[in-house]
Amino acid sequence: MPGVMVFLCRCCGRIPPTVDLLALGEKIGREEGVAVVETRDTLCLPEDRAAMLRSFEESGASGILVAACSPYGKAGDVVTTLSAACDGDRSHVRLVDIREGCAWIHRGDPAGATAKAGDLIRMNLGFLRHGKRSADAVVAVRPECIVVGAGSAGMAAALSIARAGHRVHLVERGMGGGGMLKLLSHVYPTDAGAEEKLKPSLEAISAQPLIVFHAKTRVVAATGYAGDFKIRLASGTGETNLHVGAVILATGAGVWLPRGLYRYGELKEVLTLMELERRRREGRESPRRTVFIHCVGARCPERPYCATICCPSSIKNAAWIKRADPGAEVTILHRDIMMPGAILERYYRGALEAGVRFVRFAADAPPVVSGDGKVENVSVFDAINGVEREIAADQVILSTPLVANADNAKLADLFHIGIDRYGFFREDDPLHPLETRQAGVFICGSARWPVASGDAAAQGEGAAMKALAILGRERLSARSLSRLPEGKLGHARIEDGFCSGCGNCVAVCPYEACALQKVGGALVSRANKMRCRACGSCMSVCPNGTIQMPEHNARAVGAMIRRAFSPREAR
């Protein structure tokens, strides 16, 4: 057993005198399993690198223990440098914090600090003896991609990936691409025609030989992991099997009808924004007097969210009516006007300048729509002026929220990702909004959260960029999937013959990386190396310690625990 090389850092006299490194060095040198102890003034300077690597080579040791500053200091980089000498294997290098974690917080008790430093080093020597390493999983990457949903986000994602040279399967449950753009007349903030905006994308998709368009098709099954997903599609003509490297979900959002609100469905000329858009597309002129009502079925107990795009969409149409007919009376009844940013602020002002009237109402005093057969007027308490108003109306437009696509829950299940309480796909965290808890599965557009077509396209490109990190490689290692700087801590391992098939690990794994499989007639757990993120949750629920993280296995932890507190006499 070659033993361990121990580097003790003096930090130029900032660790001693509190921790007596001289005495400590001698004691550690006599410990079983220690090959060499070297005390240095520094470990982190550029000139220390070569010297330390040389010392290690000459020692013939098989592992390294570094006793220095905290992992949030420069010791982390020292570990990286030294692990280069162990073929990049960080599990052979162990860091012990005897500065921030010892010398600097126990200056009033040098004896105690020295004893603690000794204990910490012994603990980690024990760990090194029993710590193991899981072989990194490496898979061949399928160079193709699937994009589910051919709206603004999906089309942009597919075009970006295809332009980068990869085949893309663009799967759409409808007849053709376009998504929400097919239902709109014009878009904000450019006020460009939706059709004229859509046309170039559709043409580009048709002209792009690397995009395979699957119309009237749904995803019905999915297995696999980043680099290697097996997907089954179903359409009217049968089933197709795909084998792709990355998945982009761009399924958009759904339209919601405000039945039972504001006499919708009861009175004529009470419409939703979408119905107005259709009329506008058909070239129908708008009547003289229009009242828009905001937050219809949104920011209420049933749908406690703001759907982001309704205010701008409504204001877009209100301004259009006024500009087409300056004599028209257009009133917007609103709660808060949700137009954040520079572009939307300008857009809002543009509507004001065009002569759109704005009346604010309180959430607990909504407007009342009345009429006989056809809408006649809307009464509202003007919260800012404190007066009741009666507004004559020839049409009332209800601004309703987008709701989550009904398919999201099923897709989330198939791909093992999360959905939020409103039904939209959940991102991993705000700083990684296009990534989900499964590596290789990305979300964009209104499938993620209601967003306008321009932003949806940008998110589609962003998701394409994330996918390319996988697709562009021939091979992908599990370690490289981690967002941690040193990669992830290996993966869980089940020891054959001991697993009782209880399924605790399956239930508790945050990434659904464990599954029960039949092996030789018995149900045992298997951890997917590519999906496992090495959090260790499985270890703590296994009734007999069968599933272990080799890099943090129970034996190694037990060795640390046993050596944590040395008797006073032995100091």
Binding site: Y72, R107, G112, G536, G558, F565, R568
Partner: protein, 153 residues
């Protein structure tokens, strides 16, 4: 296996801290940078996530000389492993019940999720725990019992 002796005061209780290397270790590191003075009777074992801490390890620690064990993780909702710490909280609470049942007492198990991620917080949380453990009697009888269990040999 004796506790450290001092002249007239009872020695500071020995605590093994399982600290997740995110919130908790950052707090420990910050306490160090600020050079906050703490008793030298605790040892820190960094873990990837508090959910990695096995109930077994807590019992082993108590059997091996610790007077108390602290499990420190990120605040609920802040776990970077998709809320793995929620399960850890539940598991550790259940372990607390077990400790009560066998007479060791849940007061020897400190759970800190998101309350020790700053230097002064880490110092306060740990300092309070050490103070609470002070008046508790030695665990020697229980340690002997636990140590004799086959699992711990």
């Amino acid at each position: 296996m004796n506790a450290p002796e001092t002249t007239d005061k009872k020695p500071s209780p020995r605590v093994l801290v399982f600290a997740c290397r995110w919130c908790a270790l950052i707090g420990a590191d910050a306490a160090g940078r600020k050079k906050t003075e703490l008793p030298a009777s605790f040892r820190v074992i960094p873990v990837e996530c508090a959910s990695m801490v096995e109930p077994d390890s807590v019992l082993r620690a108590l059997a091996s000389g610790a007077d108390g064990v602290a499990v420190m993780g990120c605040h609920l909702g802040g776990c970077r492993f998709n809320d793995a710490n929620h399960v850890a909280v539940k598991r550790m609470e259940a372990l607390g019940d077990l400790l009560d049942t066998v007479g060791i007492g849940r007061r020897r198990l400190l759970l800190s999720f998101g309350t020790a991620h700053e230097g002064h917080e880490f110092a306060e949380v740990l300092g309070n725990f050490l103070r609470e453990l002070g008046p508790l009697p030695e665990l020697t009888r229980w340690r002997k019992t636990l140590l004799n269990l086959p699992a711990f040999r």
